[in-house]
Amino acid sequence: MKQWLLFMIVGALSFLDVAWGEELFFRGQVASQWRYFSDDAQYKEQFNGAQLSFSFKPEFYYESDKNNHFSFVPFLRIDERDYQRTHADLREAYWLHIEDDWQLLMGINQVFWGVTESRHLVDIINQTDTIENFDGEDKLGQAMFNFSLQKDWGDIDLLVLPGFRQATWSGKRGRLRLPLTVEENETEFEAGNKEHHIDMAARYSNTIDDWDFGLYYFNGTDREARFRVNETGDHFIAQYDQIQQIGTDIQYTHDAWLLKFEGIHQEGRYDTFAAIVSGFEYTFYQVNESAVDVGLLAEYLYDGRDSDFNKAPPTLTENDLFIGTRIAWNDVNDRSVIAGVMIDLDDQSTLLSIEYEQRLDNFWSIEMEGRWFTDIDKKNTLTIFKQDSHILFNLIRYF
């Protein structure tokens, strides 16, 4: 895997070297991020207060002709408080070959599947870059061969995924971490060839009138880990099992309604279970004859996995309801906010979140986030983060 990664980097760099012409696109962003935790930490090594970090993500994109595209997107974060959060990744480094009704992508890329907002249940190709953000929307690059066929009867995607990526975890001093740190070198795999196991996925998707839907089968290493405490009891060892999963995502779009469904059925080493996220988004456009759009969202989340961490990876959403709103001002600065509350229907543990963003000018924009853990029941998985309510400011300079 390491060799292949090196090969990719060298390959990408050499094409950049020869290809600096008209068809080369370069853009990217640098950002400074300030996170502030108002409560004292739960675990004694963790820092209190503010956390400053910087990120850098240049994007190189080259079209040698209409049929051949290359992409190279490294990512770096430097964090002042959490040494594990200082990390680098290759988000993209691929060659894409395009023909009339098929395309083949080879290299590192990110693939998103799904329709819901409160949880990305069916999205399985890329590992989560957990330490980037609590929302889990940041993903690590995944090496892949991705063959796609586009026909009148729908799209087929076949993915061969060599090289498994482990999730990223906060260091000892970091916030938003598990009760113990995760020792990456001791990770255990069900597969005999460990992270060299080659995972596979196949997906069919199509649009028919108001319906967009996809159905896939995945066979390989679970992106989520179970955890066991090591013998001396001072850290966690992550355990990645082999799973077989079918997943489906469906969206019905009509007038101002979006009806959404995601469901999976997973057969793991010790547990077989199903999980769903389903709900709607309804938008009131141009409220009171202004330009402002207000959307209402509600999603129900169910996850039937075993709550014993030795049998299945932990989940935060076993029987939960998400209710939220999305407001878009549609002004020159593209101001928008999404706010919501996730309530555990069994014990009423509540996670409040709000995300606001706006453009400052042609090259600057700002994002603000707040997450509050309230009324967290002692038995709820969220209890490990109960002291980690925080606000975040991200100031981004694009180039």
Binding site: F25, R27, Q29, Y61, H69, S71, L96, I98, D100, D101, Q103, Q110, V111, F112, G114, V115, E137, S148, Q150, D155, T207, D212, Q251, T253, D255, A256, W257, L258, T283, Y285, Q286, A291, D293, N330, D331, V332, N333, D334, R359, D361, N362, F363, S365, I396, Y398, F399
Partner: protein, 266 residues
């Protein structure tokens, strides 16, 4: 006798009414013909690519600029709309964001938005075409609504418009979610291009005026305006679109206007 008189007066009434209706019908037919001639004047463009800058000006005169690339794929069937792909280039925070539309005539279009940060393609609701497009004075329907059968027409008059002679045609959106009660369009009599449109809001008050300038004829007698000025009379804001040189028949295929194509950056 009384009966006959009554019958006669009824038939007179009917006659009057039907001639009025005939007149309305004539004006509708004439309006439709003028609009159809204009709409069909660029038939066979097959596909086009153009980049444009959009300059937003508020009432205080402050400006903001966006740049975008627009690709369009013609559907010859007048009962089906064209396909289009809009890719934003600036401001930098929306660079790479793309909007794919499969236009329909009276139903809401099928639209997908590509968010490059998440690499996510989202099917979006498109009933609202009357809201501001990227904060500008253009609504999405102003940019795409030249499809012939989206309106009922009514010929008003002919008059001079600048150096040309224009037919003035009122058009009433048939699309139930339109932001307009009516539009009045000025279509020249020499090359049949729309030169000016007045937009009336749902209450019937004059909302915006669009003036199109810098017309150029491309091979195949295809005319395109290259400067669009939209003035909002109610807010005092305005937006100017400046189009680059158009490219036609670029060899794009219908398959370039599918969901998958959104994630290929351009």
């Amino acid at each position: 006798m009384k009966k006959t008189l009554l019958a006669l007066s009824i038939s007179c009434l009917t006659l009057n009414a039907s001639s009025a209706i005939a007149n309305v019908d004539d004006m509708a037919d004439k309006g439709y013909e003028i609009a159809a001639r204009s709409d069909r004047s660029d038939r066979g463009f097959i596909d086009s690519q153009v980049s444009l800058s959009m300059t937003l000006k508020n009432a205080a005169g402050m400006t903001n600029t966006r740049t975008l690339n627009v690709s369009t794929y013609e559907d010859m069937d007048e009962e089906v709309g064209d396909k289009s792909l809009i890719i934003f280039k600036s401001p930098a925070d929306i660079d790479g964001t793309a909007l794919l539309s499969h236009a329909k005539i009276l139903d809401p279009d099928n639209q997908w938005l590509y968010l490059p940060a998440l690499k996510r393609v989202k099917r979006i609701s498109s009933v609202n075409k009357s809201g501001p497009f990227v904060g500008s004075e253009f609504a999405f329907e102003d940019l795409t609504a030249s499809e012939l059968n989206k309106y009922d027409y009514h010929y008003l008059r002919s008059e001079t418009c600048g150096e040309l002679q224009c037919d003035v045609v009122e058009r009433i959106p048939k699309y139930e979610h339109s932001g307009y009660k009516k539009q009045i369009s000025w279509i020249d009599q020499s090359v049949f291009q729309i030169r000016k449109i007045e937009f009336y809001d749902r209450k019937g008050d004059l909302l915006k005026t669009l003036n199109m300038e810098n017309f150029k004829e491309y091979p195949g007698h295809i005319w395109r305006a290259h400067v669009f000025n939209m003035d909002n009379h109610q807010s005092g804001k305005s937006t100017q679109l400046n189009y680059s040189e158009y490219q036609f028949k670029t060899g794009m295929k219908e398959r370039d206007f599918v969901k998958k194509s959104l994630s290929r950056r351009h």
